[in-house]
């Protein structure tokens, strides 16, 4: 297939359709409306299920229903809508059925704004709902990567009977870039998974539920979820590395922050600074082991995100104060420019922090001081 100029939200939607999407249930919320709108046209065209629900609450529960039948189902939303979906996500995780969630983050908290943000990393990576469970969370940094992630997301969700979230921000959703869409998968495909609830024709009836009144039984369910999470951690770590071979310094960022940081890294290289970029692609499971490895040869890390240091906590878990770490964050829907990150790289090289220094605190002091100026 040829490369076309595609809008992020639309490319993601079409890629899901080509991956065999059976049902899309969603609700409008900026900056991901184009996903819903694309689906509203294409899904009925193809005779597949589509509903604009009464709200995100309705949408996620429609997804829950279809997921129980073994259908390939997804929804998409943005920060306040994801908050509304948290109940449904927990039920889906507790019932152990697969779904794909596209989460296009915007400025918050509360109604916030429609500008791009990464402020919901914790919300989804730590579960996205009540209870002990972990969705798989993948963070693309460009439209081709997002397109390639959609079939993968469905495959992972089904393989591990879990939620797979594709985590991006408003800028990726809105931007247009050349990308190549995959071929259309043969359709329809049967929903005949051995656990699916789809009418007990020729078999014993099945029940799918997330209620386990007996605590000891519920504990076993939780342990089962954790056991699958261990498998996921072993098999599904993904990351990208740029210019790390001879790097003394490593910038770490995911999604759009990582993409912008790449420009800064290239600019720094042009100035002779031996810096590289580590970009986690799976933010859950998080590539702790690789970050630990990088500790051995790195003089300092610069972590940059469009939030107040949420992925930074995961970095800290891996680094454990062994290597000086500096943090740079922008909040509330503000996106950093590459030259801001370049300035941070230069500051890190000129004045490396102490290894025990709290990177988030140090950044916050700087950010508050800048406000006062």
């Amino acid at each position: 297939m040829a490369r076309e100029l595609l809008k992020g939200n639309e490319a993601i939607a079409e890629a899901a359709i080509r991956a065999g999407l059976d049902a899309y249930y969603g609700y409008p919320i900026t900056p991901q409306n184009e996903v819903l709108e694309w689906m509203s046209k294409r899904m009925p065209e193809l005779g597949r299920a589509y509903v604009q629900a009464e709200a995100e609450l309705g949408a996620i529960n429609m997804v829950y229903g279809a997921a129980c039948t073994g259908a390939r189902v997804m929804t998409s939303s943005s920060s306040p809508g994801i908050s509304l979906m948290m109940e449904g996500l927990s039920y889906i995780a507790g019932t152990e059925v697969p779904m794909v969630l596209v989460n296009v983050m915007r400025g918050g908290p509360g109604l916030g704004n429609i500008a791009p943000s990464q402020g919901d990393y914790n919300q989804i990576c730590k579960g996205g709902g009540h209870g002990d469970y972990h969705p798989i969370v993948l963070a693309p940094a460009n439209i081709q990567e997002a397109v390639d992630m959609m079939p993968l997301a469905f495959d992972l969700a089904e393989k591990y009977l879990t939620i797979c979230c594709v985590l991006l921000d408003g800028s990726l959703g809105q931007m247009m870039e050349p990308a190549e869409l995959p071929e259309m998968k043969p359709y329809p495909h049967p929903f005949n998974q051995p656990w699916a609830v789809n009418g007990a024709i020729g078999r014993e009836r099945r029940i799918l539920t997330s209620i386990y009144l007996e605590p000891l039984e519920e504990e076993q369910v939780n342990l089962r979820l954790l056991k699958r999470w261990e498998e996921i951690k072993k098999n599904e770590i993904r990351y990208k590395e740029y210019y790390l071979d001879d790097a003394d310094y490593v910038v770490i960022g995911f999604g759009s922050a990582g993409r912008i940081a790449l420009s800064a890294v290239r600019a720094a290289r042009a100035k002779g600074i031996k810096v590289g970029l580590f970009r986690p692609v799976s933010v859950a499971p998080f590539p702790y082991a690789r970050v630990e490895e990088l500790c051995k040869k790195t003089q300092a890390f610069l972590v940059t995100e469009m939030n107040s240091g949420q992925m930074l906590d995961d970095i800290r878990l891996a680094v454990r104060n062994r290597v000086p770490t500096r943090f740079y964050g922008r909040l509330g829907g503000v996106m950093p420019f590459a030259d801001e990150i370049l300035a941070e790289i230069e500051a890190m090289v000129k004045n490396p922090p102490k290894a025990e220094e709290d990177a988030a605190q140090a950044w916050l002091q700087r950010a508050l001081a800048a406000v006062q100026d």
Binding site: M62, E87, F191, A200, R205, T209
Partner: protein, 259 residues
């Protein structure tokens, strides 16, 4: 006499639409009657193996243990959305929700209105007993003015706690609704009418004639602090005037259905 117990003499036996499990409902709770009627109808229609039920949260959270078909468990109030999700990908299955007054008329108000508005080909069995059973007898959206519940201990005060909601009257205004009726389970004649209504509702779904709902006025002896038999009388005396029985929506195509 026990000598009458022969296969030829059998007039009525427990339906195959119910599993063998002992239902956990309080003695005399008409959830059991409603379950039995749904089970009988599905068995008589021969659709048990192509039916998917969506259980609510409430006393009937374990409905899936008692009705003998595929089942899923919904979050509180979300059954109509979950059922929509299922029916849209499996349009040839019979998909129904079974919901109480808290599940449907309180937390689930958004989901039920929109499922009806969209004309989803679903069947909703709505158990209205004017109280929250499972959580210990709190006020429900359908609790009557002056009704004493655990969260309206001096009686429902309409000034601060509002008025009961009449769901059948409300939903029947939606064009997507094909069959919306209110029946009662308080005596044999009304139980028979309820069964007919439930059968009609499932036939409406089978024929793709839009959203169907049967509201069943029901008792909650424990919540109402009455004996099972006295509860039937209380229902007749107090609930029927507040929630009149009748056919609220029968669309043209539904009226033309031959069952």
């Amino acid at each position: 006499m026990a000598t009458l117990v022969t296969p030829e003499n059998l007039v009525y036996a427990r339906t195959r639409g119910l599993t063998d499990m002992v239902e956990h409902y309080c003695p005399g709770c008409t959830h059991g009657v409603a379950h039995r009627l749904v089970a009988e109808v599905l068995e008589e229609m021969g659709v048990l193996d192509r039916t998917i039920g969506v259980a609510p949260v409430g006393c009937s959270v374990f409905a899936y243990n008692y009705l003998n078909c595929d089942f899923v468990e919904a979050a509180h109030g979300r059954a109509p959305a979950m059922a929509t999700g299922i029916k849209r990908v499996l349009p040839d299955r019979i998909v129904f929700t079974y919901q109480g007054d808290g599940d449907m008329a309180s937390i689930g108000m958004g989901e039920i209105v929109h499922a009806a508005a969209r004309g989803e080909n679903l069947t909703v069995i709505f158990i209205n007993n004017a109280i929250y059973g499972m959580t210990g007898g709190q006020m429900a959206p359908t609790s009557l003015p002056g009704m004493k519940t655990s969260s309206s201990p001096t009686g429902r005060d309409v000034e601060s706690q509002g008025f009961p909601i009449r769901m059948s009257e409300m939903l029947c205004t939606l064009e997507g609704a094909g069959y919306v009726v209110r029946r009662s389970l308080h005596d044999p004649a009304n139980i028979r009418k309820s069964k007919k209504a439930i059968r009609t509702a499932f036939e409406v779904q089978k024929n793709g004639l839009g959203f169907s709902m049967v509201e069943l006025l029901s008792t909650c002896p424990t919540g109402w602090s009455q004996t099972p038999v006295a509860s039937l009388g209380w229902l007749e005396e107090h609930m029927i005037p507040a929630f009149p029985l009748g056919d609220y929506k029968i669309s043209g195509p539904v009226a033309a259905l031959k069952i």
